[in-house]
Symmetry: C2
Amino acid sequence: MQESLQSFTDSHKTLLEDKMREYVNQLEAPSIIKESMLYSLEAGGKRIRPLLLFATLAAFNQDTKIGLNTAAALEMVHTYSLIHDDLPSMDDDDLRRGKPTNHKVFGEAYAVLAGDALLTYSFQLIAETSAEDATADAKLAIIKEFSKAAGAEGMVGGQVADIDGEEKQLSLPELEYIHVHKTGKLLAFGVIAGAILSGADEEKIHLLTEFAMHLGLAFQIRDDILDLEGSVEMIGKPVGSDEVNHKSTYPSLLTMDGAKKALVEHTTLAKAKLAETGLNTFFLEEITDMLAVRNH
Amino acid sequence: MQESLQSFTDSHKTLLEDKMREYVNQLEAPSIIKESMLYSLEAGGKRIRPLLLFATLAAFNQDTKIGLNTAAALEMVHTYSLIHDDLPSMDDDDLRRGKPTNHKVFGEAYAVLAGDALLTYSFQLIAETSAEDATADAKLAIIKEFSKAAGAEGMVGGQVADIDGEEKQLSLPELEYIHVHKTGKLLAFGVIAGAILSGADEEKIHLLTEFAMHLGLAFQIRDDILDLEGSVEMIGKPVGSDEVNHKSTYPSLLTMDGAKKALVEHTTLAKAKLAETGLNTFFLEEITDMLAVRNH
C-alpha cells in the first residue's frame, strides 16, 4: 500500500531534525554559537528541500537514509541563507516564521557567524557520508553541485540580483532570474543530489532538474500570491510586505489572475517532466500539488 | 642549488593570484559580486597560508602545482573571514592593509554576500582538483579538514571566543584558545592539506600539525608585538589599536619581554618539530624565521 505524503513527511522531518540537532551538539565549539545555529535550525519550516531529496530517493526505490547527511547539509545552508538575508544590512527583518530573527536574539555578530558556521559545516557533513551510503565520486559530485547551487552562480547570485532590483520595476525575465537563482537552484539541488545518490543517468538528472526549476517557480509565485492574500498568522510575516517594500512580484507584473495562471502552468509542466522520467514519483507529485495550494 | 624563499614566494604568489582571478572571472554571476570578491582577494597580503601549503608539498618533493586549487580555496576562505570580521557588527574596521575595507566600498550587504560566495566557492575548487593531482579520497579528506579548520570548531569558533572576550581580562589559556582557533587552525590546514596531497602517513601529519600550531602562535605573538611597536605605514592599521580597544594581548599578559621570549620559544619548537619529520623542510624553516622577524 502507498504510504501517504503526510506520513512520509512526518517521519522524515523527525529523522532530519534529530540528526541536525545531534550534529550541532557534537561540535566542540563555544556554546553561544551552537545555540545560535540551533535556534534557527529549530525555528520550524516546511523542510521542503530535504523532503525533495528524500522523495527523489524514494522515486528510485532507494533507502532514503542514504541521503540523511546531504539533507541535513541542505537544510543548514537554507537556514544560513535565511539568517544572513534577515540581517539589518539585507532585508532587515525582525520576524521569521513568527519568531524573532536570529540577530534579534543573538546580535548581528553571532548571527553572521552562525550563518558562516552552518555553511561551513554543511560541506563536512556531505564529505562524512558513510562509504556504504555513497561512493567518493558521488560525494564529490554532490559537493560541486551544492557549491554551484548555493554560491555566486546560484543562491548568492540570486540574492545579489534581488538587492540590485529593489525599488526598480523589473521585467519578467529579471524577476525569473532572481527566483531561479535565489530559490530554484537550491530546491533543484535536493532533487539532483537524490538522483546522484541513486546513481541516475544524465537524462534522468536533466528531466528531474527541469521538474525542479518549474517547481521552484511555482513555489515562488505561490509565495507572492500569499504575500497579498494570506494572513499574518498563516505566513508569519506582515501581509503585503512586498507591496510596502515596492518589490516586483508576479502579481504586480502579471496581475493576480496572470500569476494564478502561471502557477497552474508551472505546476503542470513540473508534473509532465516527472511523468517523463518513468520513475515512481508519487511523493514528488504530491509535494508539487501541496506546494501549489499551500497557505503558508 | 637551493632556490631562495624569495624566489619560491614570488613565483607561487603570481601563480596563485592569477588562478584566483581566473576562477572568479569565470563565474556566471552578477558582476558586482565578482568585483566585490576580487577587490578583497586582490587587496594584497602575504599569502602565507597558500605558501605553507606549497612549501609542505616541496618538503615532500612534490610538484607544487597539485596544490593550486586547494591553495586558492584556502586564500579565499582567509579573505572571506577578513571581510566578515571587518563588518560594523564585528570589528568595525574601515581599513585593511591600508585600503578601505570591503563594506566601505561595496556596502554591507554585498560584503556579507561576497564573503558567503568566497566560502562556498572554495569547496567547489577543492572538489574540482583534477584526478591527476589528487585522488577522490584525498579531496574528501581535505574537504573535511578544511571544514573543521574554518568552521565552528576552528576559525569561526575562535572569532566567537574573541568577541566574547572583548573588554575582559583574559587568562593566557583563554587567549591561546582564541588564537589557536582563529588563526592557528587555518594556518595548520595549509600544512595538513599539503601533507594529504603528498600521501603522508599519520605520524608525519601529526608532526607537521604540531609545527603549524607553534608557528601560528608565534605568528600571533609577533602580530601583538607589531601592534605596539610597529608604524601605521608598515602594518596598515593604527598602531596600538588593540590597546585602545582594550584587547588582551600577549604583551599585556606577559609583558613585552615575556612576549618576545614566547615568540622565540614557539619559533624554536616549531623548527624542532620540522626537524623530526626528516623531510626536506628548507622553505618551511625559512617561512618560520621570516614570520618571527617580519615588520608587517
